[in-house]
């Protein structure tokens, strides 16, 4: 009941949209009614277009993000433990941090063309920075007493990384990944809008250019809700992963 009251405003907005469209208060091609958008969504699912393009998009985002987590997490923790890396790599991370990652879209296209490779590279490069910084800050804060006792008990470098430093850096790594997750969606959709032959962004652009605005709205809402859902799901996962900390 409380949830119902809490989310009532969203329902009201949807209702307002439907009524505005039905009464033709605005041009119906600019704002198709929510029910016709829903019908278009069902059609897109049925003829497989949304599923095919969605699968392409999700594959790109997942591959890029996974690479970014592995490489970025490793690099960040290594930077925190190895003084030399810290001195010379950290400035580069700081240099690339404020670079609006969207600027990389044309370069990745130049390097790898219009297909999957350029999107995966883009998402990897963009998402790596927040994960690296999270891992770096987290690993730097790990308890020295723990590191010393692990060392005195004979743990090697890699073993120490995995068993001591990684768990203590985990909360900040997970936070970095959350930023990266949001970034992955943004980079994915914008690169697909700009240059692509498949994916959510491509489908949005294609439907828009052929005047199938109901379908365009349907895909836009799908992407937006997927982004929202991914974030909420990730939060639940994060809570589970960090349950041992209390």
């Amino acid at each position: 009941m409380q949830t119902a009251i809490r989310y009532l405003p969203l329902l009201l907005l949807a209702l307002g949209w439907e009524v505005t469209a039905r009464l033709h208060l605005v041009d119906s091609s600019a704002l198709p009614s929510l029910t016709s958008v829903g019908a278009a969504w069902v059609d897109l699912i049925r003829d497989g277009e949304l599923i095919d393009n969605g699968a392409a998009s999700i594959y790109r985002a997942a591959a890029g993000l996974a690479l970014a987590i592995v490489v970025g997490g490793g690099l960040g923790m290594a930077m925190a433990r190895v003084k030399l890396l810290d001195l010379f790599v950290n400035p580069l991370v700081e240099l690339f941090y404020p670079l609006p990652k969207s600027a990389l879209i044309p370069v990745t296209v130049l390097w790898l063309g219009f297909g999957n490779g350029s999107k995966i590279l883009l998402i990897f490069l963009g998402c790596m920075i927040p994960v690296t910084i999270g891992a770096y800050n987290g690993a730097r804060g790990s308890d020295h007493a723990l590191i010393w006792s692990a060392r005195s008990m004979g743990a090697g470098r890699l073993r120490m990384m995995w068993d001591v430093i990684m768990p203590s850096a985990l909360p900040e790594i997970l936070n970095g990944i959350r930023t990266a997750l949001a970034l992955a969606f943004i980079l994915l959709v914008s690169s697909e809008l700009i240059v692509s032959q498949s994916g959510f962004g491509y489908l949005i652009g294609y439907l828009g250019s052929t005047g199938a605005y109901e379908g365009m709205y349907a895909v836009v809402l799908t992407v937006a809700l997927l982004g929202f859902g991914a974030d909420r799901f990730y939060q639940l996962l994060m809570q589970r992963l960090l349950r041992w900390r209390e």
Binding site: Y136, R140, I204, A224
Partner: protein
């Protein structure tokens, strides 16, 4: 619950704003090492491009890219593109700031506003709002209005969330004493709550500013025309790779300058606050 989630999201986005050096005493040494490694990277770029292992199309020499930027700067094209991009990003940022703070104040003062906008903000914040760009183009065309609207739409969420979090976290004692001394609600908001919330508000702005630049550049890339993003996309279409790399260098410099300017503004605006004292 959801409000807490949004704040965590904001905190996550703000946490990597300033990777701080570990100790103060080696600040100068770090600066030297940093400069050295950036120069080393540029040198490596130049040498790698000259080595013939990659084609100039894949990676033009850094000196060629610099010459390209210089040529654009003297012909004036660079300044037109730069000016337009900054104009769009900053106009959107300012509108998002004003509207965001106003909305948060309304939500703090009115239960109905809070009830209505709370779920809208917490669902909207994690969404990839850039997906709405084609709809905004459909409504508003491909000129400045639609680009700036997209920036406002994307930038307003962190501002609202941060401001609301700041206002609601103001110490109750401050509010009680002000009320006791006869301040009305308006005075409390403007003279007590908003100044006390300034650090959080500015954190929200620090998150919103890079978003504004990113969104401006994406919008320019999608819609074409003048602006740094449009110029890069044009260069990419004509396989003009020095033009593409020049765009990256230019955008990197702009992004870096904006973030540094914002951090500087933070220190100036919060001179009176504890956090500034802690840093000096």
């Amino acid at each position: 619950m959801a409000r807490v989630d949004d704040q965590a999201m904001l905190a996550a986005a703000a946490a990597d704003l300033a990777p701080e050096p570990a100790r103060r005493f080696d600040a100068a040494f770090r600066f030297g090492a940093g400069l050295f490694s950036i120069l080393l990277m540029l040198l490596a770029w130049e040498l790698f491009a000259r080595s013939g292992k990659v084609t100039p199309f894949m990676l033009p020499r850094f000196s060629v890219v610099l010459a390209y930027i210089y040529k654009d700067a003297t012909s004036g094209v660079l300044w037109i593109n730069l000016g337009l991009t900054l104009f769009r990003a900053l106009t959107g940022f300012v509108i998002a700031t004003i509207c965001g703070i106003a909305l948060a104040v309304a939500m703090a003062r009115s239960k109905i506003a809070r009830w209505f906008f709370d779920p809208v903000i917490s669902v909207g914040f994690p969404m990839p709002k850039i997906a709405f760009l084609p709809i905004i183009i459909l409504w508003l065309g491909v000129y400045d209005v639609s680009k700036i609207s997209m920036v406002v739409f994307d930038g307003i969420f962190p501002v609202v969330t941060a401001t609301l979090a700041g206002i609601t976290a103001v110490e109750k004692e401050l509010l009680w004493s002000a009320r006791n001394m006869g301040a009305n609600e308006r005075q409390i908001m403007w003279q007590i709550a908003l100044p006390a919330a300034a650090p959080q508000i500015i954190t929200g702005l620090q998150v919103a500013l890079p978003i504004s630049l990113i969104v401006t550049i994406i919008a320019e890339m999608v819609m074409g025309g003048y602006g740094l993003g449009g110029a890069m996309m044009g260069a990419s279409r004509f396989a003009n790779s020095p033009g593409v790399f020049a765009g990256i260098v230019e955008i990197a410099v702009v992004g870096y300058a904006l973030i540094k300017a914002m951090a500087f503004a933070r220190r100036r605006l919060l001179v009176w606050h504890q956090e500034t004292a802690d840093h000096n």
